[in-house]
Subunit: 249 residues, 2 copies
């Protein structure tokens, strides 16, 4: 197996060491080699290392320490701005102000991001995805001056790891793999799939700390609540609309 | 640089040779090691090799030959079905019937897909993404029996390449990389970025074949037209709604 894939773990503590331009260039080049719809390259990567701008990004990313301490922050965006500008300059009438185009750009951006992460790891760097990129996409647009046609879909921090945590446990493969068609989950299969995780020392500690009866309740009541999800859904759909990919703006 | 990243090309012609279970297992395992939001693993990978089912998928993917000839077809889905089922079985009230959750699942699925592709290439296999996965997601849902909470976001074909095409040219890095904040594109920058591609032999041939004045017009008038984009946008948003991630169903 590709070493970087097998050994990936999210890094949340970083050394202050900068990433050299030479290495960063290779990492970004790796991003650009990912598959892209029709070779349109309708995505962009905004590389931020300036501490003042990173501090503003840190605020939007729920003030997670690593956004300040990691030397590099990259925002991946669905981006039809460059492509549309090119079309207009070439007597071509672009028709990309719609949801499908946004999603096409999002696919491009996310495939590029995964190449970037693996290539970074091949150079001894660590990365961590920031789920908050979609939550506060409106503020990221302000901070990074993203024009119409550009929507943040993911962000990562990158730098030299302070330490290497253990690999994260994943559910058994049958949780995510289906053969030929989808096999739905019976209560027995659900029990079998979650058995090991629910019995782990980490889970028992989590239940104690959070004072909940089940692990699932930690997700529904603490980490990813209906209220937050609905709030950030509205906000993100607004951003997609304002940047020109949904009707009504 | 990671070899598989540097040498990636989309493969559209395949040998009939099957992919062994052992190799396929490693490839799928690679998918499962990708970053996933809160370690929820809210995605699924449906692996189809059965010729009858592949023939039905081929129809939805605009009858592209490779869907029939490649031995393996994988559909990547945003999937909150398993997670939600687990929550309900554990006295936890899931709040994932919203757009943010769909997009979270889509990110998970797309990062996994890129790991799958790179790991496949490490085993001498070739892959090609099928942009049509979002176009006809409704039909894919029928064919693969995808339950509520599951939305296809990408699909690939996979197999041993019949031949290795040349690497695809990409635009210069400044087309997709921005430093610190977004630098918008002046007409001069657009001209500089597209100069080489527009002057290439391939472009000149394309202009002749398509009888158009500019390369951009081939995209706007032939390949990715406003009419098609709007039609498939409506359809895809309907799918996202019907699968439970947008209000109104």
């Amino acid at each position: 197996m590709i070493n970087e894939i097998l050994n990936h773990r999210s890094i949340r503590k970083y050394k202050p060491d900068a990433v050299s331009k030479e290495i960063l260039d290779e990492i970004l080049l790796a991003g650009s080699r990912a598959s892209t719809t029709g070779n349109m390259q309708v995505y962009s990567m905004i590389v931020t290392t300036n501490p003042t701008i990173k501090e503003r990004l840190w605020e939007t990313h729920f003030k997670q320490d690593m956004v300040k301490t990691a030397p590099v922050h990259i925002t991946f965006c669905a981006d039809f701005n460059r492509f549309t500008t090119w079309c207009r300059q070439r007597k071509a009438e672009p028709g990309y102000d719609n949801y499908l185009s946004f999603f096409t750009g999002a696919i491009d951006a996310l495939l590029a991001s995964q190449n970037v992460c693996l290539e970074a790891e091949a150079h001894g760097l660590g990365i961590c995805y920031l789920g908050t990129a979609t939550y506060n996409a409106d503020k990221i647009i302000d901070i990074l001056n993203l024009p119409h046609g550009v929507v943040p879909v993911a962000a990562i921090v990158m730098g030299y790891p302070e330490a290497m945590p253990e690999l994260t446990e994943r559910l058994p493969m049958e949780s995510v793999v289906h053969y030929e068609t989808y096999r739905d989950f019976t209560p027995e299969i659900i029990n079998a799939i979650y058995k090991e995780r629910e019995a782990s020392v980490q889970t028992l500690e989590l239940l104690k700390t959070n004072n909940t009866e089940t692990l699932a309740q930690i997700f529904t009541d603490k980490r990813y609540t209906k209220k937050d999800n609905e709030y950030f859904s509205e906000k993100y759909l607004d951003v997609i609309r304002k940047q020109g990919f949904l009707p009504g703006d």
